[in-house]
Symmetry: C3
Subunit: 465 residues, 3 copies
Amino acid sequence: MFGVIAMESIVWIAIILVLFAGIIVLNVKFKKNIAFAWRVVISTLIGLAAGIIYQVMFSGYSADTSALITSQVTQVTTLIGDGFIALLRMLVVPLVFIAILNVIVNQKEQANLGKMTIRTVSLFVITVAVAALIGIGLAMAFNLGSGMTLPVGTEGWAGKEYKGIVDTIIGLLPRNPIAAMAEGNVIAVVIFAAFIGIATNKVDKKYPELIAPVKTLITAGFKIMTRLTGMIIQLIPYGVFALMFNLAATQGFSTFQEIATYFVVMLIGLVLLFAVHMIILISRGINPVKFVLNAAPALLVAFTSSSSFGTLPVTIETLEDRMGVSTGVANFSASLGSTMGMNACAGLFPAVLAVMIANMSGVAIDLPFIFLMLVVIVIGSFGIAGIPGTASIAATVVLGGLGLPFAPVALIWPIDPIIDMGRTMVNVNGAMVISTVVDKSMGLMDQEKFNEPNKQKDNEVGAEA
Amino acid sequence: MFGVIAMESIVWIAIILVLFAGIIVLNVKFKKNIAFAWRVVISTLIGLAAGIIYQVMFSGYSADTSALITSQVTQVTTLIGDGFIALLRMLVVPLVFIAILNVIVNQKEQANLGKMTIRTVSLFVITVAVAALIGIGLAMAFNLGSGMTLPVGTEGWAGKEYKGIVDTIIGLLPRNPIAAMAEGNVIAVVIFAAFIGIATNKVDKKYPELIAPVKTLITAGFKIMTRLTGMIIQLIPYGVFALMFNLAATQGFSTFQEIATYFVVMLIGLVLLFAVHMIILISRGINPVKFVLNAAPALLVAFTSSSSFGTLPVTIETLEDRMGVSTGVANFSASLGSTMGMNACAGLFPAVLAVMIANMSGVAIDLPFIFLMLVVIVIGSFGIAGIPGTASIAATVVLGGLGLPFAPVALIWPIDPIIDMGRTMVNVNGAMVISTVVDKSMGLMDQEKFNEPNKQKDNEVGAEA
Amino acid sequence: MFGVIAMESIVWIAIILVLFAGIIVLNVKFKKNIAFAWRVVISTLIGLAAGIIYQVMFSGYSADTSALITSQVTQVTTLIGDGFIALLRMLVVPLVFIAILNVIVNQKEQANLGKMTIRTVSLFVITVAVAALIGIGLAMAFNLGSGMTLPVGTEGWAGKEYKGIVDTIIGLLPRNPIAAMAEGNVIAVVIFAAFIGIATNKVDKKYPELIAPVKTLITAGFKIMTRLTGMIIQLIPYGVFALMFNLAATQGFSTFQEIATYFVVMLIGLVLLFAVHMIILISRGINPVKFVLNAAPALLVAFTSSSSFGTLPVTIETLEDRMGVSTGVANFSASLGSTMGMNACAGLFPAVLAVMIANMSGVAIDLPFIFLMLVVIVIGSFGIAGIPGTASIAATVVLGGLGLPFAPVALIWPIDPIIDMGRTMVNVNGAMVISTVVDKSMGLMDQEKFNEPNKQKDNEVGAEA
């Protein structure tokens, strides 16, 4: 840590600091001229370009030297990038708790609570099934897995521990609400907040003068957390720049010929899934281009951070302030979608994997097997809600449920961090699409806010922040 | 998990769902006609009957087949039963914290705080000593342990780790109140809430206008938590049905000839201890039949859940709303009694065990040894307060304190889950008896509420909920 | 635990209880006649004297007998002493959270926030550097380490795990505020409270009527926590008596000839560092004698408890009520100083250690090496902030950064508990000196309160408590 610092490291740290200063200028001086989403996109591209130039420059160096320099240079970008993600994560538990409480106590939406939950969950079920079908179809079309051989020494991968659907569902209940908060169990926090909110409303009917100050405090708490979220969201350009540089500078695209097909299949799958999301929007009369422009900051945070959980505050803020989705639906659906019914992680990914490993194992993929896969994937996508490491646990559940071996997963692990970026982005996109569609179907959506130019929205936010 | 589902499983799952629907009808349609306690009793009996029929039906099947079917069928009942317990556990920490705070800040009972604590703790000491004497007497009368031999391969049982009474007492202090809440350390939560409450009252004397809104919020919080408890208590019939079915369907009463005497001794001991509780009530002029009718829901939750901690919200609600015990005493005594001075777990059980193992080990049971046992058990019953797994830790402390070996405990472990049900019920009964007696002795008890017909109490609760 | 109790144990437990009763009389009857600080000093001395007499008396006994008696006797003093520390620790998280929130929301000091942070951190950097220079100079003057040999069997000590400065800094962020509170991560709690406070002030500008009750509650919460701290601070004389007895009765000063020089060097170093603190005070026009008299209770708690974290509530209360330091600076600087920039643990100690091990390893200590040591120590003192076990982690970071072996640390471990007492006291003293100096430099300090006779301050506190 305190050893020799290479000359090249100092130069590159200086370059990064200059670029960083440039991004500060971009976001402070040009605040009013360039919409927030575009500033996020520009910062991402600067990070990407710098990372690629960095990797090209050091490609001639010895592995040791380049590893040393990279570890020194990325200290700076890791500090910025991981610090940004840490601040986002900080918001999740208090924001979700107070937002759900506020929705139930102050927004008189409790009548719609059941309707909202049913519509959201149904849409998650349907989209996961569609994602699984896309995965199965693509993997079969490419005959993925045939001809692949398991490298020596990878027999050990035995799946993650999974306790069964009943234990998982019970684990989602807020057995101890303080422990659930400390563990970041989002669904337990949602359920506990909903319980408290419903009980508060019942007491309110009998003792309104006692509950009035409670309501005021909840409103104030919600405004405080929303404002704090707004403050940290202003940091997105800095965060995505640093995360993108890190990824571009350190990800080697080395020797993955054998899994190149897998990579291509996943990529096409993610694109198709994204297209399905757009079709859903169009079918509901929502302009997909405008939607993506509004969603851009959240999508880029999801892409660079690879964390649906960490992106949650940005997702909620984007839905409320840029999509015109009502507070209730934005908070409920996005919170649920941060761990449940994930289109790409729990739908597409395990489907592709299952077909690949079935082909490798010589299991015939006939109609009954496809149907079984579909059932296992859809049930699994809810059964694993709230367990960290969604994608790998989804793989475990699906492969285990189909009686397929786990070891071949080791093959694709080296490139999984790259795939995970796209997967997370499509997950978050799915959650936002479903929130918007549910909100519109309930007649709550603010179309004007959705259509308003983004520059104008930023100014409103900017004026507040 | 997603494998073949046996035909019999589907039939039985259907039967359970039909029974469950019946219990819904019972609790919704007959709400006004049948008192809550009787609905709980009826639901328990339906669960018991279904479980016994289930076990009889599959007794002819091969072990593998019946294990498969049982694991599929009980998924449904486990989900309902464990889900119900999870919701009860959710209430414990916030309910205890806000209730103790409310008692001290709003009920002007702080003058009685010391008196209440001393009386409660004294009664726990006395009843634990009585429980230990019953256990010692019975085990000696039956000459328990002589002729028993330790099965091969059970030498390993070495007692649970126990850090000594000083560390345990210090562990009860809320070293970090947030951590204590997250760990569900009830006594630490009580102590922290009491400290905050006392400090609030001191500030109140100087700045009453500043503390007035704090008091309003505490009152509101207490009403909200009480209402939430009331909502979840309405679910007791569903919970006990599922838990009872599970227990009756899965508990095999296989090959326990050798420990049959132990089983009988424990059973008689629990009955005698229960009788002692009733005698205490009579001596204080409290009608024991009415007491048991009032206590029935809490006792059945304790019996089916085997968890004093989980039953705590029901215990508190029963004391306040059905026994007419004052809020302060109900919350203080029941919280203390949920981990400290447990009559059956820390008094009767280790006494029976110690005599049995002394007999097995050829240790003479003379008067000094009996006296030593008594001292060790009574001190131990407080020294282990707040440590999870009370019964096994009590066994460790008592056997360790007497220098007896741990291995023979392995003998009785197979039937311990059944014994634990009765033990928990008698523990909770003891805590409720002591609460009621302390409350009456302080002139706080609401005799009219105690004597009111239960149906009427339910309606009041029902009207609120 | 429940075995034979030696006669001598009973006698000594009786003696301790009599002394304890004497301390109660001292603190209750002579409250108005003897200043609090003197009562703390007297109680410490009684504990010290009793401990020394105890150790002398049992020096003739066999090791087994004296160990048995000591383990029985110290149960009582451990209960009192560790119970006292547990109560102090209980205060840290809620006190720091509400105090920082209160400072930002109610005291209009947010304008000074940046200035305060910069001055505090700069002073910590400077004093750590001075401490490191003192350590290096002294260890070189005594030629510490030359002639020392590593005892057989101590090669194993391999340093504590340390994840690097970037991960440590990110670990200080409140990634999950509830988890940070449960873990007692002071700096994360400070940062989270500051964020919430700043967001509250921003919302306040737009919705003052909504935030008004929030402010009232924060003020009330701060007053409640301050009062609770005052209540527990009244227990200091009992705590220090018990802790001091325990230390004096159990610490054997056995066979440390070889490390006697190390002991002497550390002692002189601590005295010099203390002198530097006094010089800083004089240079700022603050009376050092009066300062030490005011600081005495906090210094003795630090000395006897060996915990900067546990002493924090006393440190804050001392700064506010006895030094006249403003609430904002007292809470900010003392909280930061409880884990960051520790003069003795992270400055003096690793410097002495590094020179000693360099000498043992035959590394030449020339000017570049001294400069490198200085840089590593100063950066390290911030990089390790918030990690428990500060001194040993500081040793790990510094030795690792200099490429020196860890094993020789095993040599000094046996006497480290004694050294740690002095180290903690000087750390806490440093934090208080820096707080006072920063406060004065910002023109906030209440000189009259600083100079007021301590007896009078006690009476004010006494009247409140």
